[in-house]
Amino acid sequence: MMARTRAEKRRMLEIKNLSVSIEDKLILDNLSLSVNAGEVAAIMGPNGSGKSTLAYVLAGKPAYKVISGEVLLDGESLLELEPNKRALEGLFLAFQYPVEIPGVAAMTFLKAALNAQRRPRGESDLTTPDFMRRVREAAQALKIDQEMLRRPLNVGFSGGEKKRFEVLQMALLEPRVSVLDETDSGLDIDALRVVAEGVNALRSPKRSFVVITHYQRLLDHIKPDVVHVMARGRIVASGGPELALELERNGYRDYAEEAA
């Protein structure tokens, strides 16, 4: 019954038979997955199941070799596009480990990112007051201190600050598909709640989320519509939110064996 209601919706992200290797090691093995518009899909799986690889391959990180398959974002093929073009198409990756970039001010970076998305649409660059206002509003909602924004990008940010800054970027860039890679890792419960609220505030019928996590904990705060279990580079089970609870009780052992 669930499959039928989903089929009626627009498919926002569609991954078909995707196989990916890095340094000749097969990581994603014929993986298929669809995420509908407005849907929050959780991907859970044991360590080494290929979750982060999936996130990176969607965003276009070099060094991964796509052997076969395709990825469509609202019908448009993504895999041939440069990472920046994928971002312009509306894909956003919230990194598990956001990199520290000394010498690049966080604000300079945000402005460059926002303008990079405006220019191809033929829009003029944001004026400084307009830009400042947008950032201030988004930062307030995420309890991000203005002082933090004056620092170099992610440099000296705590784990929680880095994750909040990822969500701030997501809020400003307004992507159609957001991939959150272990956004809960390294967060205490208060930071987790702030980040989850930030994500929930962006939920809309036009946006989709792929929430990658190892633990059920994050899903208490970001309620998924569907839960997929990933093991050995493919989706081995899909179900409703109750699947996450079952995993919490029984662990991943069953699925790891099933995929073997």
Binding site: A63, N84, V99, Q169
Partner: protein, 436 residues
């Protein structure tokens, strides 16, 4: 940062006498010196030339010139640029009228190494300029050559306790007419507790110019000096010697930007003679094409409780070759020395080269000293992160290079000068982008 400490014996004679046959350039230099002596005898200059002649033009065998074989590189010495005529001064005047200044503040103009009062601004109260520079025996053949062949030279004095707010610019204008050698020599004396900033800008030289410049900074007790050198024109050869001496509690901040020239060598000799002196030396070299840029430092801690920081960055593109050699020497008396040296380079092409050789020679037993050198490409993780936010690859790389260079410039710690230097960096990155 990698930390390494080496103990070595001081060599007795660092200048290696190796000259068997004079090269063409060495013969020309000897003739030029002899002609100068015929016009105007000077025992001090003769002594300096004798020091040069004993060593000759340096080759790879001279340790401090190991990566820059000047003897092989210098086919001949170009003729001296004659003293400027009235017409030269007028040409320079109209050039200055069209030129945008690098920084606010008074500007002194040197034409072919000679101070031209009528093209220069009045100096602020507490600062004066006079002809002549006291002899200074730096242990380097090119420093000796500069002393032997420079026109009279000038000494700028900053009075006791003077605190000069705006930077004073020394504009070295080159010559775009012919092949020529330009020698200049400037001493800047900071009296007790005097504070001032100086900017030396080298401009207007083309590939036929061989430039030999020397600046001697002497800081008396408690003086505070800032010095920024900007090499942005296109001389065939730019050899710049800086000799710095710091008395008790003196503080020196010196920065050098290289963004042009076929062969550029900045050599900086710092002696921390007084207790609790502080030196912050930094620089940024931006090189592409077939350029070579060599920055060589020697910092001697001769008194206790001195602090020195050396921070140099290089961006190397195309077939260019960068060199960084830095040596911190901590003499036996210099207990409680705190020294840290860092050289970092980014290579943008598979053919680009960087030679980095940081060294420590420590004879005191209670010191904290470290050095590190890195040579790398732009970090692909950084590029990917920026790209994943929609920033195109080229722009992402530009941002990262601007950040890399900007961090060296920030060491100047003066907003006005930092902004002016950053504008140069942005312009250099812009021409690079236009090229590709």
């Amino acid at each position: 940062m990698a930390i390494a400490i080496t103990l070595r014996r001081l060599r007795n004679s660092p200048m290696t006498a190796h000259v068997v046959n004079r090269s063409v350039a060495e013969t020309t230099l000897a003739r030029q010196f002899a002609e100068q002596e015929r016009r105007e005898r000077s025992p001090a200059r003769a002594a300096a030339f004798a020091r040069f002649a004993a060593a000759g033009l340096p080759t790879r065998r001279v340790e401090t010139w190991h990566y820059t074989d000047l003897r092989a590189w210098m086919a001949d010495a170009a003729p001296f640029l004659p003293a400027p005529t009235r017409a030269d001064v007028e040409v320079a005047r109209s050039r200055l009228a069209r030129r945008e200044r690098f920084a606010a503040g008074p500007q002194l103009v040197l034409l072919g190494g000679r101070f031209i009062a009528e093209l220069s601004d009045p100096l602020p109260i507490g600062v004066s300029i006079a002809e002549g520079v006291a002899a200074h025996a730096a242990d380097d053949p090119l420093a000796a050559l500069n002393e032997a062949l420079s026109p009279c030279g000038y000494t700028i004095s900053v009075m006791r306790e003077a605190n000069i707010a705006e930077p004073i610019t020394l504009l070295h204008l080159g010559d775009d007419a012919s092949s020529c050698s330009i020698y200049s020599r400037t001493a800047i004396d900071f009296d007790v507790e005097a504070r001032a900033s100086f900017v030396e800008i080298f401009e207007g030289a083309h590939a036929g110019v061989q430039r030999h410049s020397a600046t001697i900074l002497t800081l008396a007790e408690g003086a505070g000096a800032k010095h920024v050198a900007v090499v942005g024109d296109e001389p065939g050869l730019h050899i710049e010697t800086q000799i710095c001496e710091l008395a008790n509690g003196a503080e020196l901040t010196a920065f050098g930007l290289i963004s042009g020239g076929d062969l550029t060598r900045r050599q900086i000799f710092v002696r921390m003679l007084g207790e609790e002196a502080k030196a912050s030396l930094s620089g940024l070299a931006l090189i592409d094409g077939a350029r070579r840029a060599d920055t060589t430092l020697q910092v001697v801690h001769a008194a206790p409780a001195g602090t020195s920081r050396e921070f140099y960055r290089t961006i190397v593109d195309d077939d260019a070759i960068g060199v960084f050699q830095g040596k911190i020497i901590v003499e036996k008396a210099a207990q409680k020395t705190d020294g840290a040296m860092k050289s970092q380079a980014i290579l943008l092409s598979p053919r680009a080269q960087m030679n980095a050789k940081p060294e420590l020679e420590i004879f005191a037993d209670d010191v904290v000293c470290g050095h590190g050198a890195t040579v790398a490409s732009l970090d692909p993780e950084h590029v990917f992160y920026l790209q994943s936010r929609g920033i195109p690859d080229d722009d992402a790389r530009g941002m990262l290079l601007e950040a890399f260079g900007g961090e060296a410039i920030d060491r100047v710690e003066d907003k006005l000068l930092v902004d002016a230097l950053r504008a140069r960096l942005t312009a250099w990155l812009g021409t690079r982008k236009a090229k590709t």
